[in-house]
């Protein structure tokens, strides 16, 4: 089948394309290479288009959108991050955060490509409208918190450089502390709202779909911890007037749990989120 063989090529090709893309942004960021400067945006567009093509081909080849396993979700997430970043790059006309954001997209894509399986048949449970709603809001939420985490990390790096007088490449090339904090905060608020929606829809849908459903499922507990941490970070900012470093650290811890929940919990505990 033609679609399947194209997918088989792209499954290796896409992470390689991302590796190249990250390399170009890295050379421009750390090496100040002018050739890399000129190359970065065209490469970004090409990789994003290839990625969209890959997702469409996968959908056609296996007769379902790649949202039914964690590794399918991860390639979707990588695409969403890359697309959001493309939008940000066009809007802000700066490429300086590209390396860090695209690096995250590359990591998600790499994990996905390593473990993704060609699934032709899927559980009929997964053909539900509620699930579509759940998945798209979760994807948006994860994309937003991923971006928020990258901005948060850059904030902490720049904060550290300024605080300790050791001004390095981050200081030279990254926007201001205030900008990073704002970007991180906006993305975090959006992410928190979308994740809340995803969780609510999930909680409505789960008891309908699974008889064996339990509120003590590790995935559900993990999700609840994440939600609480984000709520805590946002709440501390609002209620206690926390600013800067502390809120950033809290958000990054929350993001650490996101990654942990997506990988370790999904892989080692075969709970309700593993359908195959």
């Amino acid at each position: 089948m033609n679609f399947v063989s194209a997918v088989d090529v792209l499954v290796i090709g896409i992470p390689l394309a991302y590796a190249f893309l990250v390399g170009v942004y890295g050379r421009s960021f750390f090496g100040g290479s002018q050739r890399a400067d000129r190359l970065q945006t065209p490469t970004l567009f090409t990789v994003v288009l290839l990625h969209v093509l890959y997702i469409l081909l996968r959908t056609a080849a296996f007769d379902h959108a790649p949202v039914t396993t964690v590794f399918e979700i991860m390639t979707m997430l990588a695409a969403c991050i890359a697309i959001s970043y493309t939008y940000i790059e066009i809007r802000t006309k700066t490429t300086s955060t590209g390396f860090f954001i695209l690096l995250l997209a590359f990591i998600f894509q790499l994990i996905s490509s390593l473990f993704i399986k060609d699934l032709v048949t899927i559980d009929p449970i997964l053909r539900s409208k509620l699930l579509g709603f759940h998945v798209s809001s979760a994807l948006l939420g994860y994309t937003a918190v991923s971006l928020s985490a990258v901005y948060g990390l850059l904030y902490l790096l720049l904060y550290h450089e300024i605080k300790s007088f050791r001004l390095g490449v981050i200081y030279s090339r990254i926007p201001t502390l205030e900008t990073l904090e704002k970007m991180s905060h906006k993305a975090e608020v959006l992410g928190f709202i979308m994740l809340s929606v995803a969780i609510t829809v999930g909680l409505v849908w789960l008891p309908q779909a699974f008889e064996s459903f339990s509120y003590l499922d590790p995935k559900l507990i993990g999700t609840f911890i994440i939600w609480t941490l984000y709520a805590g970070a946002l709440g501390a900012k609002r209620a206690l007037g926390w600013q800067g470093r502390k809120t950033m650290i809290l958000s990054l811890i929350a993001f650490g749990f996101v990654v942990l929940s997506m990988t370790v919990i999904n892989v080692y505990w075969t709970g309700f989120h593993s359908f195959h």
């Binding site: 300024i162 605080k163 001004l167 201001t176 704002k182 600013q243 800067g244 502390k246």
Partner: protein, 428 residues
């Protein structure tokens, strides 16, 4: 025709010598006049506190670097101060290289400082108004200004703050997104503090507050810079409502304690506070640095910023040198082409003159039916002999040999064939 340069600068002479040969605009006009009368067909003179430089093209016979020096020294009456070791001179490639180094900023006292570009432009204008510019200097100055522009655009030679006050502003710009909705409090009325506030005003700082032990001094500053006066006794409380604090107070002890900062940070809900302590001894207890969202810089730490930026500028020198080499090649390609065409023409004419006069003298020795043949044969020999030198010359005009190498060859050739110095633009 050749190019000459003459320079007294911060590398060759101390300030007390440089200031003796500083030229005001009026003096520069006089200088250009005299130089043009006595030394060059084209010339330009510009003068700053760090340098006085003369560039000339189309030197008249007997012109030497010392004679340029004499004119300048004579005009300024500086015979007792300026010695030959205080200036450097150059010709041809050296002269062009010197000017390009100056406009690129790598010869500046503070590496990458390109204030000099404005002064060169100014000198350019004056020389033009005095009718001292011809095709060569016009082209040379255009190239020199382009070197300046390219160095700034294509390299980081002028990036990053290289003075303490600018370093403070650079940092403020890294902490806060938009200075127009931020405010600064200046405590004490020292020069550096005032300068830093002025730079912040230049960057559009939203609001200024000034506190000083002597209130009248603060009032004077406010009338000059805008803003409002704050009671010196209330200055710690004033920290609640500002984003940047500059302290430059003389005194034996800290005027701001960590506890003060801690309290203030709570009141301002941990909104970032940038403290610039330029007092000697320091005004703010360095322990305040440990508090979250407080960025405390003193003279030493600002110094590290300056050093870092200077280091980065130094790393850009090779890139700038490449631009200089490119522009030099481009300039000499043009300059050589100016010389080559007429030289070839003259060479042909000179040799042809020798040939025809010799043929004329001796033609009667030949049989009448051979005379036409003698003409033809001698022409052929001459053409064959000239073929190689002419092709070589033409090639050189196209490939822009460095540092006027091609020019030197043209000169040698003219000497060998006794063609004399060619005058620029003329048809000698």
């Amino acid at each position: 025709m050749d190019l000459f340069s003459f320079s007294i600068n911060h590398r060759t002479a101390p300030l007390e010598v440089r200031e003796k040969v500083w030229f005001s605009e009026q003096e520069a006009r006089l200088g250009i006049h005299r130089l043009k009368e006595e030394h060059f067909e084209e010339c330009i003179l510009f003068s700053t506190c760090n340098r006085t430089e003369v560039y000339g093209a189309g030197a008249k016979t007997g012109v030497s670097a010392t004679s340029i020096g004499e004119v300048l020294i004579d005009l300024k009456g500086a015979e007792d101060f300026v010695k030959p070791e205080h200036f450097v001179t150059g010709s041809s490639g050296e002269a062009v290289n010197r000017l390009f180094r100056v406009t690129s900023g790598i010869d500046s006292m503070v590496l990458g400082d390109i204030q000099i570009l404005n002064q060169v432009k100014e000198g350019f204008r004056i020389a033009r108004e005095e009718g001292a510019l011809g095709p060569v200097l016009n082209r040379l100055l255009q190239s020199a200004l382009r070197v300046g522009k390219r160095s700034r655009a294509e390299t980081s030679i002028s990036e990053g703050a290289v003075s303490v006050s600018y370093a403070a502003v650079e940092l403020a710009n890294k902490i806060f997104e938009d200075l127009s909705n931020r405010s600064v409090l200046l405590i004490g009325a020292g020069k550096t503090g005032e300068l830093t506030v002025k730079h912040l005003v230049g960057k559009g700082i939203g609001h200024i507050k000034i506190a000083n032990r002597t209130r009248t001094k603060a009032e004077q500053l406010v009338s000059a810079l805008g803003g409002e006066v704050v009671d010196y006794e209330l200055m710690v409380d004033a920290l609640t409502a500002v984003d940047i604090v500059i302290t430059s107070v003389r005194g034996p002890s800290y005027i701001v304690q960590p506890e003060d900062v801690e309290r203030v940070m709570k009141q301002r809900q941990h909104d970032p506070l940038f403290i610039i302590d330029i007092g000697v001894p320091r005004n703010v207890d360095p322990n305040a640095r440990k508090i979250d969202n407080v960025f405390l810089y003193d003279l030493d730490s600002l110094g590290t910023v300056v050093e870092r930026n200077l280091g980065k500028r130094e790393a850009e020198i090779p890139k700038v040198s490449r631009i200089i080499r490119e522009e030099m090649a481009e300039f000499f390609r043009w300059h050589n082409s100016l010389q080559v065409g007429p030289t070839i023409q003259e060479l042909r004419e000179t040799i042809e003159a020798i040939r025809s006069s010799e043929v004329e003298k001796n033609i009667n020795r030949f049989h009448p039916e051979d005379q036409e043949l003698v003409n033809l044969l001698t022409k052929r020999i001459v053409n064959k002999i000239l073929h190689h030198p002419i092709t070589t010359l033409k090639e050189q005009s196209g490939n822009g040999k460095r540092k006027g190498e091609a020019l030197e060859r043209i000169k040698t050739l003219r000497e060998i064939f006794g063609m004399g110095e060619r005058q620029e633009g003329g048809s000698e």
